[in-house]
Symmetry: C2
Subunit: 353 residues, 2 copies
């Protein structure tokens, strides 16, 4: 099984190194025969090859069984022209691999409740899966950077969704919810947007096939509020690309453990796994980044792309144990715990495998 590793920029190298070490250990333990191949992307690739997503990287990803991604971006490339910015690697991989469903499980472990900016009684018990459509909507609609319209310069972007796009992502959410708590919240802005009205009526039709699942519709502004005042009401949230971008970051940070949160982006043949957090240029190279989100992304990789449930669970339990043993990287460190740098934390996890 070939895993393509794309460390990217900033702390990307450090955190994917950790996750690969963990994958190697479970590969040995469970005889998974994993092979790893590393490729550049983001600013690093721009510096090396003049483009944030070299063709060789994209092709390797397309031919892999799964992709493990770190993070991209940094102030160094802030003034690079828009089409060559590090983020373009992310968008190019999404489109090039057809990664239509972005999954962000946001679960607040009782032991980590205190890290949330929310009061304990509000955040406790939160366990939501955000399913974000990832290759449609306004992200990939037609755009115009500048034109003269009615005598003024303007720019525009086309928000749009087709029925098959909505069908696919809502089906995905329904199936995911069947294995959870049988509730799907679809988020749109159908009191204003035509695209949202198509989204809502298409979702209603898909839901007819799942009578056991409760479908709820929320406006995006209301959802942004509900996540803050009552996050445990949610099971699965399904939404479009732009709303998903905003709401999943809000939910992640409200959980208090953004350094711990993995994600999966599901494609038709190859899927990609990455931490939710960014490339943290301010701490890059210092060896203090929290590798757990990437290690947990590796667990998702085993679960979703390789169907290795046991090995995935083994990693997740090793992470839980390392936390229970008191290891904390600086982002989560509090008195009474064991301060761990990236290496120490990784070893703690490895020792629990």
């Amino acid at each position: 099984k070939k895993i393509v590793v794309i460390p990217g920029d900033g702390i990307g190298q450090e955190i994917t190194d950790s996750a690969v070490a963990v994958l190697k250990k479970v590969s040995d333990k469970y005889n998974l025969n994993l092979e790893f191949e590393s490729h550049p992307a983001g600013g690093t690739a721009y510096d090396l090859c003049g483009t944030p997503l070299p063709q060789t990287t994209l092709e390797a990803a397309q031919n892999a069984d799964a992709v493990l991604f770190g993070a991209v971006g940094g102030p160094k490339w802030d003034n690079v022209e828009p089409t060559l910015r590090p983020e373009k690697a992310v968008l190019g991989l999404r489109k090039g691999l057809g990664l239509y469903a972005n999954l962000r499980p946001i679960k607040v472990a009782d032991a980590l409740v205190e890290y949330s900016p929310l009061k304990e009684e509000i955040v406790k018990g939160t366990d939501v899966l955000i399913v974000r459509e990832l290759i449609g909507g306004i992200y990939f609609g037609d755009k115009c950077e500048s034109e003269i319209y009615e005598g003024n310069e303007r720019a525009w972007d086309l928000e749009n969704y087709s029925v098959p796009e909505v069908n696919r992502i809502v089906e995905f959410a329904m199936q995911a919810s069947k294995k959870r708590k049988n509730k799907v919240t679809s988020v749109d802005k159908s009191n204003v947007l035509a695209t949202s009205r198509l989204w809502r009526r298409t979702t209603a039709k898909v839901a007819e096939k799942y009578p056991e699942i409760t479908l709820e519709n929320l406006y995006v502004d209301n959802c942004a509020m509900q996540l803050a005042i009552n996050p445990s009401q949610f099971d699965v949230i399904v939404t479009g690309n732009l709303f998903g971008d905003i709401l999943s970051d809000e939910a992640a940070v409200l959980s208090g453990s953004i350094g711990m949160l993995p994600s999966a982006s599901i494609g038709e043949s190859t899927s990609l796994y990455e931490p939710i957090h960014g490339s943290a240029p301010d701490i890059a190279g210092k060896g203090i980044a929290n590798p757990l989100a990437t290690i947990l992304s590796a667990a998702m990789l085993l679960r979703y792309s390789l169907d290795e449930q046991e090995a995935a669970t083994c990693i997740e339990q090793a992470v839980d144990k390392a936390l229970a043993q008191g290891y904390r990287t600086p982002d989560l460190y509090k008195e009474g715990f064991i301060k761990a740098d990236t290496k120490t934390m990784t070893e703690a996890v490895l020792n629990n495998i």
Copy 2:
């Protein structure tokens, strides 16, 4: 001076009645000579006249010195056809009055910190003004409810901004910040959207005229996070219509006092004032709604539309006093305070004028 009052639906009548009583009292005290004229809108207007925004209501608003608005909407009109829903009154008034700048001051009073879902140390000291562009962007761009495109049904909405639109709202934000803490955070998604790139470069140009003001740019997903983990970093936030809708609701709810928050929508000749909260159909008619957001909106009306600073301050202080005296409507009631219904709270405020 003519004030057009549009109570709308749900608790709209109760809360605007309270605010009008308060306005009458300060009108007498300061000799403001205010006159009031009430007009229907929303579901109530649909029931009466078959349209959520009767021409007579719009014209009265256009000819008024200022408009005091309650709230619209309710489950009763959920199945009315989209173009006749109560929200259309809101959008119609915005467009019809040219209400280009929506202002939401979100200030967390020390005495009310405990109502926030956020931990006290995080929310304390928050005092942000959100300036949302209100008559442009994807809300009013071209739309298509349904078309066949590449063999599939799709719908679309056009997000768009012109340079003059961005200039106007950013100028407004800069001016507002001059009277505050000299910091403006412009929120966009310029790593993805062409419209945001025009927004960002136009904002940079406007900012050149205000060297004393610090301009910061944030992506919308990052802003959704920062509001939750460090809301007191902000002074003025300026953003487009859709992002403003989401972020201002998130910020409002994080403040914990959504029943207390006023808003102003500034037009070229007439401006409109309304509470941030909705029509709360579940408690409508019970006489228990919190009238303070609407009363504080009336204070904004005096301040911005009539330039009656003293009378405005008088209302704001009367509200502060009522809270200090311990009055709390059910939404904010806690043991040890005086439980007040709408009438009692209104009288408490009136007695402090």
